[in-house]
Symmetry: C2
Subunit: 191 residues, 2 copies
């Protein structure tokens, strides 16, 4: 393996360590030193790769995006099915499943969203990525003929954020499992 590939691998490992720090310590715990400690790299490594805190945060946003991208097979295995509400519900359940099995990513994202309210540079990096993801979701439904346009996708974004925030922190008993809540939202938002 050449130096380029090794560099890329280390970059990714550092970003993953940063995601862990964000999830476990909160946004204020995110320092270059904490990232080095979590990655097990010599002090100074994280600053070497990401000179400023904003560089570090941009790298984390990028890596969060990668870790949230569905496996190509998850999309291609479904693309032969009729684009009905059941298929849409399936995609949603897949998103929620990925958020649930990788809770550090979801928690890091919640931390960054709160940090975005405090720091314009974070708002900019995160906002551009979230806005892009929202537009892609709307375009995906439109292109595949799935039910749910921009308004419905917006409602699902809000609903699933709230559901996952509850589920991944200290859930209260509402009588609904995550899957049941998704089904209820699909039933009601896609009328």
């Amino acid at each position: 393996m050449g130096g380029m590939a090794r560099n890329e691998e280390r970059r990714t490992a550092l970003a993953d360590a940063g995601i862990r720090v964000l999830a476990e310590e909160g946004a204020r715990g995110l320092t270059h030193r904490a990232v080095d400690a979590a990655a097990g790299t010599p002090r100074g490594t994280a600053s070497n790769y990401f000179p400023t805190r904003d560089d570090l945060i941009s790298a984390l946003v990028g890596r969060i995006g990668e870790r949230l991208t569905p496996e190509p097979e998850a999309v291609s295995s479904r693309s032969a099915r009729p684009p009905d509400r059941e298929l849409f519900a399936d995609y949603l359940r897949d998103v929620v499943r990925r958020l649930g099995i990788d809770p550090h990513v979801s928690l890091a994202l919640f931390e960054l969203r709160l940090e975005a309210g405090r720091r314009p540079a974070v708002a900019k990096a995160l906002g551009a990525w979230r806005q892009g993801a929202f537009r892609e979701d709307v375009a995906f439904n439109e292109d595949s003929g799935l039910p749910g346009g921009q308004t419905e996708i917006a409602l699902f974004h809000y609903a699933i954020d709230g559901l996952m925030l509850d589920h991944l922190t200290a859930p209260i008993d509402t009588g609904l499992s995550v899957d049941a809540a998704i089904d209820e939202f699909v039933d009601r938002i896609l009328r």
Copy 2:
């Protein structure tokens, strides 16, 4: 004013300062020293009132609850109206309006929810309060004959959490204003 009332007033001022610290600095910034600095009280005052960090957090949860309680007039002025979906939508809009004009409280609550995922003592204090508030909301609808039972109230909790998290941090453009999103949720969740 006697000493008791003065003590109570100072307790409240310290809790309000703690809410400000949580919203502005995040959960990790919440220390007794930061609360004293934000309240403008001599160092040691916050520790005097709330000896441990868990005492401090319990006090913050209590104060957040107070600040989120609707004015009695907001309830009594509506109680003569027929308990239909329009009245329910009105109550929801009132909740969201209160969350929006007091963003520190909402942001502090989001910070505590993330902290609850990390610290069992926070999960306990916050969970008890959130669970109680959820049960009260369900009972309120039932007692007043308003539409929406436990399932619907659960869905509204998730939906409004996600909506406010977006609105109070770095909102993306979904094409929906907060009020429009509420109307859409009411239309769809209360079928």
